[in-house]
Amino acid sequence: MINKIVQSVAEALAGVKDGSTVLIGGFGSVGQADVLIEGLIEQGAKDLTAVLNNAGVGRVGVARLMELGRVRRIVCSFPRSSDPVVFETLYREGKIELEIVPQGTLAERIRAAGAGIPAFYTATAAGTLLEQGKEAREFDGKRYVMERALKGDVALIEAWEADRWGNLTYRGSGANFNPVMAMAADLTIAQVQHIRELGELHPHMIMTPGVYVNRVVQVDRGGDWVKPEQR
């Protein structure tokens, strides 16, 4: 019997190694696996590369992980947020490396990793500062930049529902980076609000097939609970 459901957050995060590249879904706080991030803080892995769209808000979640000195390098499109105090301090003091990636290139580099494509060409960033150090090439008279696939050792996913196969559904705009990141890591861990019986999720509603998912942990907060920063 396939059963990817684990009973605790600690079990979900077991084995995450120092030096890992961690893909963290979410756009702002919507769709960001806050409980798994707290779990990673507890778990203790350090020297991490965090790949995510935004560099954390306030002093919780990803910002807390950074403040604790556990993130060596961040790969993101938009390090600013409503309250980026931790990141900006670390960045100014030279205590964190930053790789800025255009948002679509970030998504596509992750998709490429999940799809077995080592590199691709895109018009995004051609002729700009973000082309520097990359191979550029003309196709049909237009300039393109070569971008490399971006693979994770671990992906932290927030979904709405899961079954024991690890099939996932998302809610509202909460999918964002989660489906593509789920494809692109050796160990994909999903935090979900609801566990459904196998067969209960409509096949058309499953946005991430369980083949991409290794572990599922339920964070049952009852009905329509939403995290405070998302309210």
Partner: protein, 211 residues
């Protein structure tokens, strides 16, 4: 009287035809959505919402529904969701009829600078701007005509790091609407009420042509 921010957005919205799929940037561009009443325009948000509706009424907010600026939104009838890879495939694959962005500078050759300045030590934040500049079918900029301290934002060549090359087709400012034509540069379309061409020229860092 120069246009207010809302009037700039309304002036731009008047030029958006029914049926377009439009991506709006953060700031003044977001206001454009309030001014297309009576036309079916599909607003795409980069975080995977195709078909945004108006801002929610108080008490009707859904914390799972946000736009690129992380503001709460509603869905229009006919809306759909995709993940980030598909949302940016839509943007980069040329399926967005119009993208509206703010800018630090627009050059007369259509170059856009809107993501980084060299004036502060905070980290640059590109977001989806380069994808939109490279991938949307057309890019219009809406911005104040000058900086807060009066420097022109319409320039011969951008001084700030570029977001995209030769990508801006039209600029809406508080003073005027100006086309950016490949061979000609800036060409006046029309002026805000009571604003003169001389004033626009005096506040621009490049030649403003008239037809």
């Amino acid at each position: 009287m120069p246009f207010t921010r809302d009037q700039m957005a309304a002036r731009l919205a008047a030029d958006v035809p029914e049926g377009w799929c439009v991506n709006l940037g953060i700031g003044i561009p977001t206001l454009v959505a309030n001014h297309v009443q009576g036309r079916e325009v599909i607003f795409q948000s980069e975080n995977g919402v195709i078909g945004m509706g108006p801002a929610p009424q108080k008490g009707q907010e859904d914390p799972w529904l946000i736009n690129a600026g992380k503001q709460l939104i509603t869905l229009a009838r006919g809306a759909s969701f995709v993940g980030h890879a598909d949302s940016f495939a839509m943007i980069r694959g040329g399926h967005i009829d119009l993208c509206v962005l703010g800018a630090f500078e627009v050059a007369e050759n259509g170059d856009l600078a809107n993501w980084a300045t060299s004036e502060n030590d905070t980290a640059p934040a590109v977001g989806g701007a380069m994808d939109l500049a490279a991938g949307a079918k057309r890019l219009w900029v809406v911005m104040e005509h000058t900086t807060k301290d009066g420097r022109p934002k319409l320039v011969e060549r951008c001084g700030y790091p570029l977001t995209g090359l030769r990508c801006v087709r039209r600029v809406y400012t508080n003073l005027a609407v100006i086309d950016v034509l490949p061979e000609k540069g800036f060409v006046l379309v029309d002026l805000a009420p009571g604003v003169t061409l001389d004033e626009v020229r005096a506040k621009s860092g490049a030649v403003i042509h008239t037809n």
